[in-house]
């Protein structure tokens, strides 16, 4: 139980450092946008791709 509490704190510290640092957030937001577009487009292609067929 103690182990998981420690790792949750480390996780929170990591997320804080990535989110509140301006430079890192500039890159992270681009990364999140790109990953979201890539993963979302794969999901749409696999499930609704047939709608684009002619």
């Amino acid at each position: 139980m103690t182990d998981s509490v420690v790792s949750v704190e480390k996780l929170k510290a990591f997320v804080h450092s990535q989110y509140y640092d301006e430079e890192k957030w500039a890159l992270n937001s681009k990364l999140l946008r790109a990953v979201g577009l890539f993963a979302g487009s794969i999901f749409l292609m696999r499930n609704y791709g047939d709608l684009m067929a002619i």
Binding site: L27, K30, L31, R33, A34, V35, L37, F38, S41, I42, M45, R46, G49, D50, M52, A53, I54
Partner: protein, 315 residues
């Protein structure tokens, strides 16, 4: 009382022969007879074809004249702004016009391409099949400016279920890559390179999984590149593609999603980027050997809008 139907039930005994059912999924994979994989440098081929058309800005006219079955000449005229790389984020464009003369020799075993421009730049490419499995490729770009010319030679060997390539370039550039089919659908590959002039070396790995309906590829390199792509073949005429590129050295990340419609009279490709850039490219077949081209690229972030049109005559 209704008379019960007295239908004698004759049970006929028929011998039923059971046919062993072989479903597609139960086919045993013959690991000694795997297909030959595609070349390592073409691993993202489908995604590149759909997502990276030759976008241009300005006017383009290409004329190809075949003199005989193997030999043809080409004339290209281009007029429009040319982008020059700048340090700042603003794009610097200079209006330019140039003419390019080209000659092509195409034989089943030997292909030669040469292009020369009015500004003195020469491009040459050779592809020669030395034996059934070994081929030689060479390409070079020669310019007037000192230290800007370069050339590269590569030897490609095609094995039963693998391919290997060895490259030599100027500036002490050495490279080698190898790709192997692991299952009928999956292939893995790796590459190494050493650039003597810049004292840099690198290693990379790639994987490709393809079926009739889709192709998924992934590539990582020690230069900091991570490239993933996925192409879905929706039908014979339509493909949808998506790619993701991340360079953790230069902190650059781009994802794009696009479509590719290959119809009888035209080919239409379009894509949208995670950097706010939308592009489209249309090639319309007006007549036999006459193609009309339209290109558009809208970069909303940099407020840079590029439109181009052109005509291609000949095959």
């Amino acid at each position: 009382m209704a008379a019960a139907l007295n239908v004698p039930l004759t049970t006929s005994t028929t011998t039923v022969t059971t046919i062993p059912q072989m479903t597609k999924g139960e086919e045993k994979v013959d690991y000694l007879n795997l297909p030959c994989p595609i070349p390592y440098e073409e691993i993202h081929r489908e995604a590149l074809m759909s997502l990276k058309p030759e976008l241009f800005e300005g006017m383009r006219f290409d004329f190809t004249k075949g003199l005989n079955q193997k030999f043809s000449l080409s004339h290209s005229v281009f007029m429009g702004p040319m982008e020059i790389p700048s340090q700042s984020s603003e794009t610097i464009k200079i209006p330019a016009a140039h003419y390019e003369f080209g000659a092509n020799f195409i034989d089943p075993k030997l292909m030669l391409f040469g292009r020369i421009m009015t500004d003195g730049r020469l491009n040459a490419r050779v592809k020669c099949d030395l034996t059934e499995n070994l081929s030689l490729k060479a390409n070079s770009q020669l310019t007037n400016e000192p230290h800007m010319s370069h050339g590269m030679v590569s030897f490609d060997y095609k094995g039963k279920d693998y391919r290997t390539q060895f490259q030599l370039g100027n500036g002490a550039l050495f490279g080698a890559n190898y790709i192997q089919s692991v299952t009928p659908h999956l292939s893995f590959g790796g590459e190494v390179f050493w650039a003597g002039q810049h004292r840099k070396s690198g290693i990379g790995y790639a994987a490709r999984y393809n079926t009739d309906k889709m192709v998924a590829t992934g590539q990582v390199a020690s230069t900091g590149l991570v490239a993933l792509s996925y192409v879905q073949k929706v039908s014979e005429k339509v493909s949808l593609a998506s790619d993701f590129m991340y360079n953790y050295m230069s902190k650059d990340v781009t994802a794009s999603f696009g479509y590719d419609y290959i119809l009888r009279q035209c080919r239409l490709r379009g894509k949208i980027d995670s950097n706010g850039c939308a592009a489209a490219f249309l090639e319309e077949r007006l007549n036999m050997g006459l193609n009309f081209i339209l290109s558009a690229e809208l970069d909303h972030r940099k407020k840079d809008y590029k439109f181009g049109f052109g005509l291609t005559v000949g095959e």
